[in-house]
Amino acid sequence: MSSGPAVPSSEPTVTPEDTSDGVTTVLGEAEIARALTRIAHEVVERNKGARDLVLLGIPTRGVPLAERLAERLATIEPGLVPADVVGELDVTMYRDDLHKHPVRTIGATRLPASGIDGKIVVLVDDVLFSGRTIRAALDAISDIGRPRAVQLAALVDRGHRELPIRPDYVGKNLPTSLSERVSVRLVETDGTPDGAAGSGQAVTDAVLISQRPTSTSSEGTR
């Protein structure tokens, strides 16, 4: 772990042991990798193989997680080609809180070439919280096809569900208080491609807990 000089950036980069500004790292790179490997095995076990599986990541961070999960599935089930089973599902236009926030940018929805009809869809998201994102995702799925089953994988389940939704695969159960904020950092989405900060400090995968700044946080249902 290279802990370079403090870099002034919008998001403070912390090393795992750093708790100075109230940020705690609960999962590091190795733990996230192990959790994904375990989830991959659980998916194969539950579905008795990887036939007819489609992994749909929910942007932003669900997408790289789905891709990583597919790579692990391919090592377990050699016939599987990751690119043929991974897609992304943008749920922005199905959210029930659109009018409570400034306008959200709509992401891309990209399905595998085989579509989702008759498949087993595994939704992949980073943090499971109120369940409202997943509710929106279920609505979005019903508009684009009719899968045989829909399952849910989340890297972190932080509780506080507001809807009758439960995950099928969980990386880590993380009991939290509502005043805390759980954020996931992934190399694919949060890395600085050209070293924007100027320092050579590499971004590593992590799950972080911090205190919400004040009562009105404009972050979504994280």
Partner: protein
């Protein structure tokens, strides 16, 4: 963004955001189920004081695809024909709880008045006002150009494929025909300039408006020269608006001697089509006067994207309605304007 009144108000970032959103909307329109629940419970009023088919249907389709309720109001058969003023019509719409008003009016500036007079709280979308602006048409034209021309390497950048986030830098566009009466031309000149394209207006001197030298574009009176010398990436033919030319007899008012001479000098036909580079697209905002500004050969050629423009119009209008209506209006209002 609270209202969409003129393309001159749009920054480059605003315009790209609309085009990117439109691209996602267009992607949803190839699905079996095209309807999205996004604007459920919102009401969009189409307030049309001037005849229109495609723009009104396009806005209506866009609003319905986003699950908004649509109320169509056309001046014919309404209280306007009994002499009601724009203000009283607006107050009525406000009382009915309209969230967005899409207005087409024969008077330039009517949408601006509606947006800023304090009569309605709704978001106002200009669907064409007099000889002033038609911003959603310009946006759909830019969207169509970006889809066909950006990412194929013509603009210098060799990024092939996804044009998301890109502007129209380096593209050359010829806008040909009745510039004087065309709000489409005005909207396009500003938007295409904002997005980095070079626009050349081509028209007979009588159909070039006074003050055109202040517009961010070039002006030419010779179509053949422009096609041969600038090798435009897109040629946009404008409709000769004979209903706006007084005494619209055979001579088309006094703007040109006769239609045949206009066609010969400014019409796009097979011969002129052959002068263009292979990648050049042919556009027309519709409705077309076949045989006048565009020949059937040009209108039906594989490089004509005229029908696609109509389809893109729905996606662009969905994007505009989404960006105006989906967010928290009170926060937006505090931030802008």
């Amino acid at each position: 963004m609270k209202h969409l009144l003129s393309t001159a108000d749009l920054t480059r970032a605003d315009a790209i955001r609309i085009l990117d959103t439109a691209a996602q909307m267009a992607a949803t329109q190839s699905r079996e189920i095209k309807k999205l629940p996004t604007l459920r419970g919102r009401t969009v009023v189409n307030l049309f004081f001037e005849d229109s088919t495609r723009t009104r249907i396009s806005f209506e389709t866009a609003a319905k695809r986003l699950s908004a309720d649509v109320i169509n109001f056309s001046a014919k058969g309404s209280s306007v024909s009994k002499g009601e003023s724009l203000k009283d019509t607006a107050l009525t719409l406000q009382a009915m709880g309209a969230d967005a008003v899409v207005i087409r009016h024969q008077a330039s500036g009517a949408p601006h008045t509606l947006a800023h007079a304090g009569w309605v709280e709704a978001a106002v979308v200009n669907a064409g006002d007099g000889m002033h602006q038609h911003p959603t048409q310009a946006l759909l034209d830019a969207f169509t150009m970006r889809r066909h021309l950006v990412g194929r390497g013509a603009a210098g950048s060799a990024v092939v494929g996804d044009p998301t986030g890109q502007d129209l830098a380096g593209l050359r566009v010829a806008v040909v025909g009745d510039v004087l009466h065309s709000r489409v031309a005005r909207s396009n000149v500003h938007l295409l300039h904002t997005l980095g394209a070079q626009v050349t207006l081509v028209a007979p001197p009588t159909l070039v408006p006074v003050g055109v030298e202040t517009w961010p574009c070039d002006v030419s009176y010779h179509l053949d020269e422009v096609l041969a010398e600038t090798a435009p990436d897109a040629v946009m033919m404008l409709r000769v608006q004979r209903e706006r030319m007084s005494g619209s007899g055979a001579g088309g008012g006094a703007f040109f001697p006769n239609p045949l001479e206009y066609t010969r000098n400014f019409g796009l036909d097979g011969r002129r089509l052959a002068l263009l580079p292979d990648h050049t697209i042919v556009m027309h905002p519709g409705p077309m006067n076949r045989g006048l500004e565009i020949s059937a050969e040009a209108a039906d050629s594989p490089r004509a994207v005229i029908v696609e423009q109509v389809a893109n119009g729905v996606a662009v209008r969905m994007a505009v309605l989404y960006l105006l209506l989906a967010g928290d209006a009170s926060k937006e209002r505090a931030g802008l304007e």
